[in-house]
Each structure stands twice: as structure tokens, then as C-alpha cells.
Amino acid sequence: MARQPIRPGGRRGRIWPGSLRRRLVVAFVLVATVSAGALAVASYLLVREARLDGSLTASAAEAREDLNLATTITYQAAGDFVRAYEQRGTHAVLIFPGGRKVTSDDQVNPPIPAVLQGFVRRGQLGYQRMDVAGLPYLVMAGKVPGSNAQLYLFFPEQSIQRNLAQLRNTLAAAWLGVLLVAALVGRVLARRTLSPVARASEAARQIAAGRLDTRLPAGAADEFGAWAAAFNEMADALEAKIAALSAAQARELRFTANVAHELRTPLTALVAEASLLSGQVSHLPDPARRPVELVIADVRRLRTLVDELMEISRLDAGSEPVLQRLVDVQAVVAALISARGWQDRVTVDGGPLTLTTDPRRVERILANLVGNAVEHSGRDVVVRTGTDGANGCVDVADGGPGIPPEHLPHVFERFYKADSARAGQGSGLGLAIAFENARLLGGTISVSSDTERGSVFRLTLPLGPGGDVSER
């Protein structure tokens, strides 16, 4: 069954880490500032309305009074009348019938808005807000009762506008303050809210890294608490399952080791007995000779199998010591060839190769590979030494029938026999042992094969620190 990808995006890198936190902060800040902004704008508008209305009411009352006062003013006295306004900061303009105009301040000489003039001519009290010489004024205007003179009063509104500007600034500053506080509070809140998520991803990473006893702090009464409890349950189940699996594996390994060990005592007797019998075969009566020869051969086979089982269970137990010596690989190959009498079947090629490694294991691996090649091809085995970067390589090539591609990936598996008809004497553990030994030395064995030119097994081992070697 195909595994379902957990995230459609696949890789973790695609997701912006912490983006959820950022979004939470942004949302929090938006809500806080929009409401604070709306509140500020509304209160400003209300205050402004109230202030301007107040100013208008007061000015209108004053204007009515002043219009009444102006009924007695003649053109000649008008100058003094209007100038009296200047002391209050108010400009005043009186326009007598015929267009004669008296201004409280000839320098300023405020312009009279046409719309307002229309109102006044119709006998109404009018007002208009306008700037005179760059300052804000409320202009109130009306017809002086009992005459055709018009009075225009320019009440200053600078202080109102200044107050409103101050209020505006204060509100804007407060709004900015709210924005900052909201950002800070939002950050803290978001971090605190999302911290269980961060803890959970860290815990998941720890579990993935093999620390199966990692748990989340549980006990919070919220959704995260429930989540943590579920996570911990999953981790418990996982840990129990893996513990059970490794216990089972350890049991199996121990069983193999025990079986091999228990076989040893009777096998020792058998080997000694066969060893004695083999010197007596020629003295045996004919009908017994062949069976005895077979017994001797089978005891040898059994011995090989038990030896190899012991060896592989030691390798599995991971308790094998590794020596570090300078090893002349070509010398090892030459020694093992002559010890086994393969001189006319195996040739050595390539340059000298010196490694810092365990000589016994290298010998074990090469004896195995060469033995395997000799067994499968009979002759024309070539052992070639060389280097490949920081590694030494030994190729063992045979001119045998090769290994069919479907068997190639399995040749290092235990008890795997590519061709039962061709299996020969091997226990089926030889290549597996060679492979485990190579791995123990930090190297590997690879194989390539074609059915015409035969197989090449390549042992690759690290060169190791040359010359300077540690030992007892």
C-alpha cells in the first residue's frame, strides 16, 4: 500500500515557518487599530461639531445684539464703532446704502463673500466660515434694523481650530500607541497560543531522531491539552511497539547465537571423531568406506555452517573488536592464494595497496570473495587492487557464468542461493559475512555481473590514517 503524503506540499521548506503566528498577530493588530481608529474619528467629529455649533450660537447672539446697537450709528461715527471690535480681535465691516464701506482694519480689509451679501440684502442673518489673511473666521452678517446698512462681523475661530488640531494630534498619537500595544500584546498572545504547536513539532522531531521517550507536557484543559494527550498516547504506542520489535529481534539473535553455541560441543566431538576416522578410511572394509567418507565430508560441512552462524551472530551482536594495523593487501591476497593452493587459478593485478584496517577481517573478506569466484568459475579469477579517492578497492573478477540480474540484488542476503543447482559447498552465509565484515571496517562490497563476462565483486575500504596506527 502506498504511503499517503502527510502534506500535499511535501517538503517542510515550502511552508513559511511561523506564518500562522504572523497571521494571528496581523489579525489582532487590525482588529485593535480599526476599532480604535473608528472610535477616535467618531469622537473627533462629535467634539468638532459641538465646538463649532457652540461658537456659532454664541456668535449669532452677539451679532444680534450688535445689530441692535448699530441702529444709531451714522456714517460719520461708524469708524469708531467698528474699530471698538478690533480690541476683541474681531474685524467688523459696516456697509452703508450706496456702497460706502467702513472697515475696522483697513490693512486687512476682509473681503465680503457674495453669497452672504445676498442673504443680508434679503434681510436675513447669515453666517459663513472663511479664512482671512490665513486665519479662520466665522463671519456673521445682518441688516442693521431700521436702516439699509449691513454689518459684517468676523469672529476669530483660531483657538477652536487650535483645540481641534490638538485633539486630532492627541487622538492620532493614542491610535499609534494602541497599534504598538496591540502588536506587542498580539505577538505575546500568538506565541503563547501557538507554543504547544512548536513544542509538538519539536517533540515529533525528537521522536523521529530516535528519542522515543519524548513526551509533551499534558494537563492543559484546552484543545492543546487534548492534543498533547493524544500525541503522548501515540508516542507510548510507538515506543511499546518498537521496544517489542527490538526485544523480539534481540531474542531471535540470541536464539541463533545460542543454537550455534549449543551445537558446538557435539560438533567438537564429531569433528575430532571424523578427524580420526579420516586417517583410517583405507583400513575400512569396502561397504563402510564410502559412508565414512560421506560422514567426514558432512561433518566438515556442518562445521562450516556452525562456524559461520557463530560469526554472523557475533557480527549482529555488534560486539566485534576491530584492529587497526597497516595492511599490505596484495600480501594478504598472495598469502591466502598460496595457503589454499589456488596459484594456477587466481592472478593478482594492479598496484600495491596499503590500508590501515583489521588484517584478519580483510583476509576473511578476500578469502571469501576469491573462494566464491574460484568455486563459480573454476579458473581465470583476477584480483585487482587500486584506489578510488580516499578508499582502497579490490576487485575480484571471475570468468564464470555470471549472476542473472534478478538475483543480483540478493546475493548478500543470508542463505540466499542464486541457483540451487550451482550452490556447491557454500553455507549461504559466506557473502553475507563478507558484507558485514566490510561494513564493520567502514567499507562496503558491491557486485556487477553479466552473463557473458562473469561477475566482479568490489571491496571498497577506507584507506585509513596511513602509517600512524593505534593498537594496544
Binding site: H261, R264, T265, P266, L267, T268, A269, L270, V271, A272, E273, S275, L276, G279, R303, V306, M310, R314, S319, E320, P321, L323, Q324, R325, L326, A335, A339, T356, P359, R360, E363, G467, D468, V469, S470, E471, R472
Partner: protein, 226 residues
């Protein structure tokens, strides 16, 4: 021939067939079924060599070996069923000269015994060698340090003699295996390392900082004439 061997082995089949094999090879063989009996028999009769199983009831092979070493330098070969390196090393450190892994071919055991017995026989040469505070007397099979005789086993003696004959020369482990143990290259150099360790414990003033027998890293050992 006619050397007398003591075989201590608890498994009846192995005991019987090995005894038969050794007798066929020309040895005189006595057997014991456990550690206590083996030790008692050795004390009572004395033997030319001892073959000692490691896993024995009542007193294990290491113990028997240590007991024998307290009063005898007789060649001892251990039969070890456990091939873990630690067992081999413990066996050698308890004073065994050699070990054979179970299962073994009889000719292999016989060859090892003969090599050990050859070693135990005094070398032909007679000239004493002086190395530092040591005086090695091949004829008398004795080593004296500042005039006091040291209790070396036959293997340790041969090892010291081999190194002392050519002071300053580096011996590879393989060469020492060949010269002292009479083995062709077997790759099993623990024998050499452990024997060197035991020898140092007896001849060096400070065995952890040897002044006489030096380790040449990655190569082997050398005796410095102090």
C-alpha cells in the same frame, strides 16, 4: 615422544575421542572431568602439558590455569568453545600458552601441543644474554632480574629470548608467532599481544610505561638494550 598430557574436559564424547587421538599421536594421556579433579591430578602427578577446557564444572578453566601457574610453568593449551575475543584474551591472561577453538581438527591440536613442548625444552645454545637489569640464561631456562629469578612460562621465556637475541630489531607479530609459537601466518596476533603484556608485567619496572619492550605502532615489538 612419550610426553604425559593431562586432558581436562567435561564432555564425555570429546574427552574420549581426543584422548584416543592424542594416544594415537604418541602421547600418554590422563583425563579429568572437572576443574577440581584436574587440578588435583596435576598436583599429584605432574604432567608435561595440560589441555584445559574453559567451561568446566566446579572450577572453570581460567581458575585451574591460574592455580597451576602459581607453582608450574607447564605448557597449557585452552580449549575454548566461546570464540569471543574477550574469552580468548582472558584465557591467555590467566596464563595459558595457547588456545584452540572448538571445534578443532585433531592434527591441529597435536601440532600445537608439539610446538609447545618443543618450546618448553631448553634451547641448545648456552651463552647467557644480558639485557638491562635482566640476565637470560638459556641453558638453565632462567631469567634473573637484579639477581632475583623471575617465574616465566616457557612461552614467555622463548618470547623474551627471541627479542633479546636481536636487541633493537623490530619483530612483527607474525614473525614472533612463527619463531616463538612455531606457527605459519594465521593472522591471530592476540597470542603475541597478550604474551607481551604478561612478559612486561614480570620484567618491566613499570609495565604501563615499558622501558625494555617497546611497542612499535602498526608494526610490532622491539627490545631496547637499556
Amino acid at each position: 615422544m612419550d610426553e604425559r598430557l593431562l586432558l581436562v574436559e567435561d564432555d564425555a564424547s570429546i574427552r574420549e575421542i581426543v584422548a584416543i587421538g592424542l594416544k594415537a599421536a604418541g602421547f600418554r594421556v590422563a583425563t579429568a572431568v572437572d576443574g577440581r579433579e584436574g587440578l588435583a591430578r596435576f598436583r599429584a602427578d605432574g604432567f608435561d602439558a595440560v589441555i584445559l577446557d574453559v567451561m568446566l564444572p566446579s572450577l572453570d578453566g581460567y581458575e585451574v590455569c591460574r592455580e597451576i601457574r602459581k607453582f608450574s610453568r607447564v605448557p597449557i593449551v585452552m580449549l575454548t568453545a566461546r570464540t569471543d575475543l574477550i574469552d580468548v584474551v582472558v584465557g591467555l591472561e590467566s596464563g595459558a600458552d595457547d588456545y584452540v577453538k572448538k571445534p578443532f581438527e585433531l592434527p591441529e591440536l597435536v601440532a600445537r601441543l608439539r610446538a609447545m613442548l618443543r618450546r618448553a625444552a631448553a634451547p641448545a645454545e648456552a651463552e647467557p644474554i644480558v639485557a638491562g637489569q635482566l640476565e637470560i640464561d638459556p641453558a638453565g631456562f632462567a631469567v634473573r632480574k637484579d639477581g632475583i629469578e623471575l617465574a616465566l612460562t616457557a612461552t614467555e621465556f622463548r618470547l623474551l629470548l627471541e627479542l633479546a637475541r636481536r636487541p633493537g630489531q623490530v619483530f612483527t607479530r607474525e614473525l614472533l608467532l612463527q619463531r616463538v609459537w612455531d606457527y605459519e601466518y594465521l593472522g591471530d596476533t592476540h597470542l603475541v599481544d597478550v604474551a607481551i603484556g604478561r612478559l612486561r608485567a614480570k620484567v618491566e619496572d613499570d609495565p604501563s610505561h615499558p622501558a625494555l619492550i617497546k611497542t612499535i605502532r602498526g608494526v610490532g615489538y622491539r627490545l631496547d638494550r637499556a
